[in-house]
């Protein structure tokens, strides 16, 4: 990979709001070159999406999250892709992953209450023909999300002067 592109991606992965001017000040490139490169990275699908990690608890929106493990049966002419598509179209579903091991598919589901989530799984997911079984695990606390530690302990203090 080109070193400049790596710099741009690392900066944006850490802070999606970094402006071309800010990125330029950290690299060898001009703001215009940065804008052009980012546009190209978006066009080619390298940059998929910009998002914000929100701690909804702090504004009193107590969302309930659950991880759902699914065992599925594949039908002729229908692979995992078809099942995944069917599932990921529900807005309640935040992520869908195909796994190796005891289960086939893992979902993250968000709802307003445990009842909400439980009914969604029971009515919308468990009733799908291809779904053999479901196992629902409610999330009690999130410590780290997408590489971001949500409640970081106090920073370590360094000496202000050393050689």
């Amino acid at each position: 990979m080109d070193e400049q592109i790596r710099h741009i991606l690392e900066i944006l992965e850490n802070d999606a709001r970094a402006t071309p001017e800010e990125i330029a000040s950290l690299t060898d490139m001009s703001a215009q070159e940065i804008s052009q490169t980012i546009a190209k990275l978006k066009d080619t699908g390298v940059i998929r999406h910009y998002k914000t990690i929100v701690d909804w608890d702090l504004v009193g929106e107590n969302y309930v999250y659950a991880v759902i493990e699914l065992k599925v049966t594949l039908e002729r002419n229908q692979g995992y892709q078809a099942i995944a598509e069917r599932i990921y179209k529900f807005p309640e579903v935040r992520s869908v992953r195909l796994l190796s091991g005891n289960y086939d598919i893992s979902l993250t589901v968000r709802g307003k209450s445990m009842k909400d989530v439980a009914f969604f799984v029971a009515e919308k997911i468990a009733t799908l023909d291809q779904v053999q079984s479901t196992s629902t695990h409610f999330v009690l606390k999130t410590y780290k999300e997408d590489g971001v530690i949500l409640h970081e302990p106090e920073a370590i203090k360094r000496l202000p002067v050393s050689f």
Binding site: R6, H7, E10, S25, L26, I156, R158, P160, V161, F163
Partner: protein
């Protein structure tokens, strides 16, 4: 009642002879101030990568708290041999050519004590790290200063070195990548130095602790030059590359005769480096490359930010190729380095280190560490810009 005494009378002459450092005063000025931004640190602002810390914790849980071989854990020395062979094709025998020390500071002290006789002259290239001159003085040697200049990109030239060599010269201390200038030396630049080293039968103490922090060009170990391995003791450590400063772990690589002599001192002073840090260091060498490279890329970005920033506010700044220091020129402001740094701290609450702390050749410059967050660097440069504008009025 017995008569009282003056304890200062007990202090050895050699310690009294250590040249004074203006830096203690600076420490005192900084302590107690609020809202300061510090570009004055000589250590990474990253915490030691977790996999290294986790290895240290695991070793403590297992009860690995014993002494090690005086030379250091054999596994660590094996790993160092492999690392330097892989990086540069250098071949050091782990059983006789490597000594693990408590930081590079210890390695420096015992390397100097191992080779310097009273009255020997030792060439110290400045600006450079503050410990070289005092360490030579404590060993009974006589430091002879050779300066580097911004016009030579702070490289050491053979022309500058040659006149400093006398028949009493025993050794020369090199420090590239350099603290505080950020300069590195290319193989071509080193060749002329190596010729002089052979012509005058000198020994070289090469402090390469910033080895892994170079930008755009690969580090050249002095010992990798033709004929230099036997004449050089390479000093290095884990502090800068793996953000392990407080774990105090360094090492020396050189000829068996030199390493053995250093070990003779080490065994009676330090005995061995702390085992916890040694085990962490093994983990760093085995699995730390990716994290280290990530940190280097982060420094590289901050380097761009700070150098551009200084040039923009009218402080001409050499573009450093290594370490994590920018060394802008402030001589055209009419202030000395100390005046500039003290007033900047007093009026704008930005900590920098006056260049003359690193030798007279550093006068007119300021050491600014960019091992600080991007936000802090932006704020510091802005405050410094305001300060410089204020001076013009």
């Amino acid at each position: 009642m017995r008569s009282p005494c003056d304890p200062s009378k007990f202090v050895a002459e050699s310690v009294k002879n250590i040249p004074p450092s203006g830096i203690r005063r600076f420490f005192d000025l900084v302590s107690g101030l609020e809202d300061i931004i510090s570009l004055g640190v000589g250590e990474p602002d990253f915490i030691t990568p977790w996999h290294i810390r986790e290895m240290c914790i695991h070793s403590l849980e297992k009860g690995q708290t014993s002494y090690t071989s005086n030379y250091g854990l054999p596994e660590l020395r094996d790993e160092l041999t492999r690392t330097y062979y892989r990086r540069y094709g250098l071949d050091y025998d782990p059983s006789s050519e490597i000594l693990v020390t408590t930081g590079v500071s210890e390695a420096l002290d015992i390397a100097i004590r191992a080779v310097v006789n009273p009255g020997d002259e030792v060439i110290v290239v400045q600006p450079s790290y503050v410990a070289y001159v005092p360490s030579v003085v404590l060993a009974g040697g006589k430091p002879v200063i050779v300066s580097t200049y911004v016009d030579d990109n702070f490289s050491l030239t053979a022309e500058a070195l040659k006149p400093a060599i006398t028949n009493k010269t025993k050794a020369i201390i090199l420090n590239f990548p350099n603290n505080p200038t950020g300069a590195i030396m290319t193989q071509e630049e080193f060749e002329g130095i190596a010729d002089l080293v052979v012509e005058n039968n000198l020994f070289v103490i090469s402090d390469e602790v910033y080895e892994c922090l170079t930008y755009g060009s690969k580090h050249v170990p002095f010992s990798s030059l033709d004929g230099m391995k036997e004449r050089t003791v390479m000093l290095n450590g884990f502090s800068k590359a793996y953000a392990m400063t407080g774990l105090r772990l360094g090492f020396a690589m050189g000829a068996p005769e030199i390493i053995h002599s250093m070990m003779m001192i080490h065994q009676y002073s330090m005995l061995c480096a702390p085992i916890t840090a040694q085990l962490g260091a093994i983990e760093a060498l085995r699995n730390g490359k990716e994290e280290m490279e990530r940190m280097v890329r982060e420094y590289d970005r901050r380097r761009h930010l700070i150098v551009r920033g200084f040039n923009k506010i009218g402080l001409e700044c050499y573009n450093p190729k290594g370490a994590f220091y920018a060394f802008p020129y402030i001589g055209n402001t009419g202030l000395s380095s100390s005046e500039f740094a003290e007033r900047l701290l007093d009026e704008k609450k930005v900590v920098t280190i006056p260049g003359d702390v690193f030798g007279d050749a550093g006068e007119g410059f300021l050491r600014c560490a960019y091992a600080a967050s991007v936000d802090d660097i932006r704020k510091a440069v802005e405050r410094m810009g305001n300060f410089v504008d204020g001076l013009k009025q």
